[in-house]
């Protein structure tokens, strides 16, 4: 039934998604100091001069870390390094914060890790990329370790070598085929992305434990968070939204994952890098069909919003921030480690789907003597909700497809 008009909008303008404004830099002053000429417009509305922009970015980074007061002095923190503007900006934020001599100095120890997962490329190219990463980190005088994602998957989720020199990483031309052979061939691309995402997170936690780090910093920015959130909702992980997209993922007792860049957008960090004369290393982009998986579609959807309706990206994040982890059950999922919900009396979508599958596979009873009620009762009598409590709703579906 059509639901148009069910929303109870108070006014007509509430129905419109706010479009990005078209501020021009001419004839305006910096939003912050109200003195200098602005050089950048953020979120299509706020204009800043160079000094205020840089101060604002640094403040935003520290404020989010400081607000949660999770990291204590001398804690060891693992930084999940990736390729692109966010990670390069993170390098700079950290270097500056650690080098300060004022009370604002960051007081924890950092160690970087790069998880090699470029099996779509040739070994030569992959080695080239690793060298570039090593050089970028050296520039900031940080220490970086390298780990092969393929090894972890192929060796049945066992953490392999953590190496200092990227030359010591074993790379094979058929890494991609090996990964596919293990479990991925039976899954559609959506579930494959999902399980690889989970495995990568599990691997990072293993690495952190091995290196005695209590925290991991990851470089997701606002559009990553928004598309992740919509993706989680679409995979049935609504109850996990706070740990999957919030500032702190504390599903593991020993290691917490923090997302310090989640309030930044790409333009902001690209500009930050530009003003600091930082040029992130580049890597070949593989063409991705946005309609090939839920995650790819959500990336496209959020990127389009970012261009046309940037305020809506912020709204999606704020929606997520107002959700609480639903952990009425004590048990944790064996795959994603998120809490498994206790099924209560109420009919749920999961149960409806499992009943639908059940009635679709029951041999019809064509006896004339039995009433419809009697036939239904006998179908229901043999119907049992599968009490597999090792996995959450979404992981149960993935496990089901792998086993089938």
């Amino acid at each position: 039934m059509c639901s148009v008009g069910d929303e109870n909008f108070e006014t007509e303008e509430e129905k419109c998604m706010p479009a990005g404004g078209k501020i021009t830099l001419a004839n305006t002053k910096c939003n912050k100091c109200r003195e200098n000429d602005p050089i950048v417009v953020l979120r299509s509305k706020d204009a800043y001069c160079e000094a205020c922009f840089l101060a604002g970015a640094t403040h935003k980074f520290k404020a989010l870390l400081g607000k949660h007061k999770l990291i204590r002095p001398n804690d060891k923190v693992l930084i999940h390094h990736q390729i692109g503007h966010p990670s390069t900006a993170l390098l700079h934020f950290l270097r500056c914060g650690l080098d300060l001599t004022t009370h604002k100095k960051l007081r924890f120890d950092v160690i970087f890790v790069y998880v090699e997962d470029n099996s779509q490329f040739t070994v030569d190219y992959r080695k080239e990329v690793l060298k570039k990463i090593e050089n970028e980190i050296k520039l900031f005088k940080f220490v970086i370790k390298f780990v092969s994602f393929n090894d972890y998957i192929v060796n049945n989720n066992k953490l392999g070598d953590i190496v200092d020199n990227p030359d010591n990483l074993t790379l094979n031309e058929d890494d991609k085929i090996n990964i596919n052979n293990i479990f991925v061939s039976k899954l559609n691309k959506t579930n494959k992305n999902d399980i690889l995402h989970i495995k990568k997170r599990n691997l990072l936690i293993e690495i952190a434990k091995n290196l005695n780090c209590k925290f991991i910093l990851t470089p997701e920015i606002s559009s990553d968070i928004a598309s992740q959130l919509l993706g989680e909702i679409s995979l049935g992980r609504g109850s996990h939204v706070p740990i999957d997209t919030g500032f702190c993922d504390d599903r593991n007792q020993d290691v917490k994952i923090l997302r310090p860049l989640r309030l930044f957008d790409m333009k902001e960090l690209a500009f930050y890098n530009k003003l600091n004369s930082l040029d992130p290393i580049s890597i070949k982009q593989t063409e991705i069909n946005p309609y090939s998986s839920v995650q790819d579609l959500m990336k496209k959807f959020v990127n389009d919003l970012q261009v046309n309706y940037p305020a809506t990206v912020t709204t999606i994040m704020k929606t997520g921030d107002k959700l609480a982890i639903n952990d009425n059950g004590k048990q944790k999922c064996q795959l994603c480690m998120g809490p498994i919900l206790n099924s209560n009396e109420e009919l749920s979508s999961a149960e409806s789907t499992s009943f639908s599958h059940w009635v679709s596979t029951q041999k019809p009873d064509n006896s004339k003597e039995k009433s419809r009620q009697e036939k239904y009762d006998s179908i229901l009598k043999h119907y049992k909700v599968s009490e597999n409590n090792n996995y959450c709703y979404s992981c149960k579906k993935i496990e089901g497809s792998i086993k089938s």
Binding site: C2, V4, T315, N326, L347, A350, S356, R372
Partner: protein, 361 residues
């Protein structure tokens, strides 16, 4: 040709988007009906002996809802009194055909039919309102009047339940829309199968877990007569985006619809979101969040020759609104009386055509 998943020996004629199973016609009927019965009993939607008004638009959802409720009521002895409730907005050419369809439902299913017209309820037809206000803002009127009309009708009929044809696709779309809007309160309750609009008449959704595509297939194979058009009222921008997104998601993996409902059912809102407390409208006594309900404010404007009253909040807001409309909301801001127009971003609205359905040739 694949065999029916139920092992009946027949060839399958369709693949179920909900589960991926292939079914023959007879097994599909039985599965479809058993599932709605499962939903009704498991969620305890109705008490025996009560009266249920079925919101009937003549469209596929309400036609299938009326047919299935009648069938289940007889086969499973719900002991319910079923009546059809229709709204006539008074849009020339729009309701004429669909109301004929509802009248056909009334005769075929032997259920009493009550048609409430905007003229009866508000003193104005939509045509008259459009003539007064122009096409630009009449969505506000349709939305507010339409919603109240069903509730008022249910009240006048003194029924115990109002059953609507909202299907799984509608619920999933609403979850996505509420995330885009940041409406925590509605996000929290939009997946409820029973909602209370404050007047003691529960609104229930027996087709909550039923895919729109399966509703179309059911109507098609049962040869049910329904008025084949989508709502002519354009969705707001958020719903429009949510709708396009959901259609794209469904093409990638149809089980996403049930996933989104599962997410909606299992998420928990952190802080108590601000839900307006309900009182009664001082004019019409209807349940409202304001002392004078939105419908009465709009009516006041119409009757006093100030039809824009209650649409914008201030002149500034109005100006912004008009600019916005010019810029981005062109296609979503006015009601259209033509059927089957392209929705925003080029998505076909007519999803009830069989071309989009998983028939096995």
């Amino acid at each position: 040709m694949p065999l029916c998943s139920a092992n009946c020996g027949s060839n399958a004629i369709l693949k179920r988007p909900k589960t991926g199973d292939a079914l023959c016609k007879e097994c599909f009927f039985e599965a479809f009906e058993n599932e709605v019965h499962f939903t009704i009993t498991k969620a305890r939607l109705f008490e025996p002996g009560k009266t249920v008004a079925i919101a009937a638009s003549g469209g596929k959802d309400s036609t299938v809802l009326a047919y299935v409720l009648k069938l289940l009521n007889e086969k499973f002895k719900y002991n319910l009194k079923l009546v059809l409730l229709s709204i006539d907005e008074g849009i020339t050419g729009y309701r004429d055909d669909s109301l004929d369809t509802v009248k056909k439902n009334r005769d075929d299913y032997e259920m009493p039919l009550k048609i409430m017209s905007y003229k009866d309820l508000y003193g104005w037809t939509m045509d008259e309102i459009v003539a007064e206000i122009g096409r630009k803002n009449n969505c506000t009127f349709c939305g507010v009047f339409r919603r109240q009309a069903l509730d008022r009708g249910a009240n006048l009929l003194k029924v115990d339940y109002l059953a609507t044809g909202h299907n799984a696709d509608d619920i999933a779309e609403t979850v996505l829309m509420n995330i885009l809007r940041g409406d925590l309160a509605r996000l929290n309750r939009c997946t409820s199968i029973i909602t209370d609009s404050g007047d003691g008449i529960p609104r229930v959704k027996p087709l909550k877990y039923t895919y729109e595509k399966e509703i179309v297939m059911y109507a098609y194979f049962r040869k049910l007569i329904y008025f084949s058009t989508e709502c002519v009222f354009a969705p707001n921008a958020y719903r429009g985006h949510a709708r396009v997104l959901l259609k794209d998601l469904e093409k990638i993996d149809p089980s996403v619809i049930m996933n989104i409902i599962q997410s909606g059912e299992s998420l928990k809102v952190n802080e108590t979101a601000n839900m307006p407390t309900l009182t009664k409208c001082s004019r019409c006594n209807y349940v409202s969040s304001q002392t004078v309900c939105k419908a009465c404010v709009l009516l006041e404007g119409l009757n006093k020759g100030l039809p824009r009253l209650g649409i914008g909040k201030s002149s500034k807001v109005k100006r912004i609104l008009e600019e916005n409309e010019k810029k981005n909301c062109d296609s979503t801001s006015c009601c259209r009386t033509n059927n089957c127009k392209k929705d925003i971003e080029g998505v076909e609205k007519c999803t009830d055509k069989l071309s989009s359905v998983n028939l096995i040739k």
